[in-house]
Symmetry: D2
Subunit: 397 residues, 4 copies
């Protein structure tokens, strides 16, 4: 059995040798997902056979059960590939759903939903954001679950439900008690995607692509959807608390994945800079403007990584709640670094940078949302500042 | 007959009333061009019937022959729509090709190529950039035309040939005399797209889309393509001089189009900010962070417009060559403004901003190239700085 | 008699030939003002003898009465020197006080205060900002003038009263009717600096210097100061309206002066870049990082100038009130350009840039306040944004 | 005897309780150093009596001999005060001179120069930069030491010799063998300041102040200065190697000191934001623009601290040479953070921020040089980038 650092080393090697494949990357970016999925599934099988499957999942469920901090490093390695997390079965939103079900699911929920997820037999999604309500205000929500005997009857309208296309079930955030205090109004409930009344309205076209299968973001309607109350995860009214518990580590995972993207962008830029000639014998790498873009990216990425790992250590030592400022700080700081690093990498590549001959343009498009999803920059900055100011008496009235 | 300012007012009204159509915009962005083209062609017919067709084209060819400075203003109005220039038949690269043929084409070339272009019966393209050579160094080029009797035999490899898919002809930049001084080596030659040896290798997938028809960028091969020497535009060796003549006004047109995009982005942001509520009764517009993003965009766009118009006046008064610093300055300044304004508009829109429910994401993707095409920022900055320093004796050795 | 453009040309020549004097500049920056004043007064005499005195002042008062737009250009020329405006008697705050007295002063006020100001025989100041109240909220003010017969009795505490040290009188903004609507509470009143109860508490040490004479910012106390009601300028309650009238053109003058500073910073940078060698035969000007800093400054300054001149034209054509958005926009935009241009110039100069061997460090210190005085960036951005949003119905409740 | 962390805690407490004194700070900033020195020397005596003297100095010399990483933390604590390092006798350049003499001085040199330095009885300086040569190219130097029997005869011209005013000796970098390879040409030699031929030409006026005593930067001339060869530190030709050894840890110390400044700037900003009212009951802290400035500073400072500490750990584990990229990276990254954090703090403070009523303006002025001294940003970025690119074959020819 590997030590965590052995496992990390083997995963890194697999990424380098098997995933950073220009043809597969271009196909993943430009073809429908269903056309590429067989090749990705073959890689999944390979990962399983190498004993590297599901690095974040408990051993009892077939995973590597890597410590949180090691898995953070794994996330950076996988992030170098647009499909790294998928191939190792730690892609969002399934990874978060597995964590949630493992920690708070009932025995029956685990058998029915967690085990096949952990095996990679099914996929899942998480329906939280609503088109009519600002995602930045999570207590401002319309979707309702009304108790009717042993069932909930659910009505709601959600969007940006990632991975809904092809998912076996969703976990939906719904108001179960509109009269409770704001943070105790909602619950999380499992809804099979084939339940009557569940409609996937559309895969939302994002940055030019509606997509299909896993890499999608759907608009969903829930009209009188009836599920047993036993589909609720945790206590009634615990929806927000569970969401917070999920989002803390989730932002570490995003942060490390983003840094994997950044490292890849720097690597591609260096390769290109030394090989592209501006005139015979004069590579792009000689340009001071290029050099300084590389150095700025290097510095920002190194600083960002230390910030994410530091927050991860805080979570590991003190829990999510005590670490929430560190988590908010890294969220907006690293998302900003990601955007600037990708922008510089594209500029270094010139016209090639906007093509799909490298994955830079894919990330440039799809990670613009990094400054928006899981809380826009502005929300996290306000959170951090208010806590800073509270120490000086602000808002203490 | 309209005065120029009447024509401008009528064009602006047409854009507002007929082009800023959310359904058509979304379809243009998400469907194949050929599916949307009939609707665009119907709009073209409407424009013709209103007497607003081809505002930049001489009256003798069926256009409005608007003065250069008025047409700059028209370009901003049309830029508010992703297909505004197409509908008025002043889209790149056809517009530049028309200017070139009008100024330097032979009588026969005008009849054969310019007249149908001006009528909108055919499209054209311009093959300049080569994949193996940095576009930032225009004298570093491999494509060759070898004289053989009354013909040129052309061999070359080009990419980012915009609009090649469906074009009737291309104008190609080729080396005609490799032994001449660097800026006198190349010529511009008309090549019918159906000439033997012309291959459209692929539409390059750019920011996720290879596309079809007009909005494409192709890789092209020219293998022993034979065309009569009379297909050359202007003198042998005049290729660079003609390209320079084209690029000056071309950058004015890009600049004004970008400002149209910016104004639309600001308009969409204001609309959204007043209508989106963060909590009941509290629109996004109340957020100081949103307000300051709007004000920053307002200031930058107003400054940028004055800079473009000032350069246009210089060209109008003193010609392209005498105005080249002003042109370089606006190129990188306005491209930067465009990127920041779009970025802020997306941030104001939150998740909606990355979807294709507005044209913001389309522009965010496709105008990232604005800082690269027609000379990357770095090249223009170096040009401007060297001329500044030359006045102090730099490089005077 | 000169045409305006002749006068402008002669003023520019005088600045270049007589004011851009390295020794005098260094002495102005590093010595007490009183030690340098005789040399500046000699230059003032020279300016008078050349017929260039007080370019903004009416001919009837001994000035050139240049049109507003020409005077804007003059302001840029004078801004190249830290004491340019002083030498031509159009320095703040005297220039604004002269405008105010000319437009709204009584005949007696003009004889007593305006005429000697215009001749340069006395100096004056303007006491508005209060230490206990945010300058960004002008209706939040404590200083009071209570009517007592034909007198006002004034009590107040002011700071940042520029030029108070050595001034013959101040114009003070005081609340005359605390029960009036917020913008009708205050009046402007002339107070001789030698009136009993007027105390100049200190010259505030700003960026390391308390200074003496004209280039100072004082803290002032007014304790039971008695002045005749006839010292009021304009109507009772008109204080804010008069202040607004002053601030519009005042921001044009600041903007143009800042651009003069920018042009000087660019000029010094170019001179240094071509002369400083990094190794034998390799001047700093060869560095791409230096070139790009110069080009960025060039572009920003050119854009900023057009923005200021455009706002000036709006004021000229439509008045201050109708142009207030343009004025707010230029205020924060140009102040930002100024800070960046100076920062780049210092970086180009290396260690020399932080010394007082050039005026760059002086401006870097004293113009940091440009983003604060006459309304901080944040206030102007909010003003501009609210007006943008108002057009979409915001705040229309 | 304290553990390192006890010592750190006691030092932090001393800084908070004794050094963050508004009156002393203002006097330090606005009065001649000699007027404030008695108060600082009293604090030095207090530090000695508390057993906290010279935290970086070996116990054998009367210091605390704190581990490198603990001393880095101390540096941050002291950095909160403009005179923190001075009061603890670890101010530049004496601290670096003590390190150098301790590691490489002869026994006689230690008795004569190191011991009184460590006691705080004398001060010293380090003469390296030359006005005629770019500091960014350290092998480009004119100062010469010519061997004459058992003496060196030194001729040279230096500037930015910090602390020369009042120093007992300088260490001068001089070329001892102009024919050696570039990095083996120079040596470091001790020169008493009272040696014949040593002239302190002037204290250079920096950002408005020439100053006196310790906080100064002098221009120096050395004309036929004769010192015994035994005054050389280390081997002949070892000057650059010794300088490099000094600069690595020196940049850690600068970095941590800068972060102390940043923390103070944030602390002052928070205090001000909660106490300053924009209107009754509405503190500045409510402004989102202020909140976001605070959050941006918080994130940047936290990331920067991790970057400095990580480089310090690398030095501790692997030595200066192996850590030079990490050192270059932190140098430009943290200097940039410092400048932005101070700029934001001033903006939050409004007019107060540019006065000397807080130390913000002092740091704003004097730490602008942080992006220049010890290698300008541009040099460090180039160093980092070239090493990145070397891994891809760049410059391997």
């Amino acid at each position: 059995m590997d030590t965590p650092s052995d496992a990390l080393a083997r995963i890194r090697a697999f990424v380098s040798e098997r995933l950073l494949d220009a043809t597969l990357e271009r196909d993943f970016i430009t073809l429908p997902f269903r056309e590429v999925q067989p090749r990705l599934d073959a890689l999944r099988a390979e990962v399983k056979s190498l004993g590297l499957w599901a690095p974040q999942v408990p051993r009892s469920l077939g995973g590597l059960e890597l410590p949180f901090l090691t898995f953070a490093r794994v996330g950076e390695a996988l992030g170098q590939s647009p499909f790294g997390h998928y191939v190792f079965n730690c892609q969002a939103p399934d990874s978060g759903n597995m964590e949630l079900l493992h920690a708070h699911g009932s025995a029956a929920q685990k058998v029915q939903w967690l085990e096949p997820l952990a095996r990679g037999d099914i996929r899942s999604c998480f329906a939280m954001t609503e088109p009519g309500h600002a995602g930045s205000n999570p207590v401002f929500m319309s979707s309702r679950a009304i108790r009717d005997g042993d069932d909930y009857v659910i009505d709601g309208h959600k969007w940006f439900t990632s991975g809904a296309d092809g998912a076996a079930f969703t976990i939906i955030m719904v108001v179960t008690d509109p009269d409770a205090p704001p943070h105790a109004r909602a619950s999380q409930v499992i809804v099979p995607m084939d339940a009557p009344g569940v409609t996937r309205v559309r895969n939302i076209s994002v940055m030019g692509h509606a997509g299909d299968g896993w890499p999608t973001h759907s608009e969903m309607r829930f009209d009188g959807v009836r599920v047993p109350v036993t589909n609720r995860i945790g206590d009634e009214g615990a929806g927000f608390a569970l969401a917070q518990e999920r989002l803390g580590p989730g932002r570490i995972h995003h942060g490390m994945r983003w840094l994997g993207i950044c490292e890849r962008a720097i690597d591609l830029s260096c390769r290109y800079a030394v090989s592209r000639e501006l005139s015979p014998g004069h590579p792009l790498a000689e340009q001071q403007a290029v050099q300084h873009m590389l150095a700025d990216s290097r510095a920002e990425v190194d600083a960002a990584r230390l910030l994410v790992l530091d927050a991860a250590q805080q979570i590991d030592a003190n829990g999510v709640h005590a670490s929430r400022d560190a988590v908010s700080t890294l969220k907006f700081f690293v998302a900003g670094v990601l955007q600037r690093v990708l922008d510089r990498a594209i500029q270094v590549h010139g016209a090639l940078g906007v093509t799909d001959d490298t994955p830079l343009a894919f990330w440039y498009r799809h990670e613009r949302a990094a400054r928006i999803y899981d809380g826009p920059d502005e929300v996290h900055k306000t959170v951090v500042a208010k806590r800073m100011l509270k120490a000086y008496g602000f808002g203490a009235r």
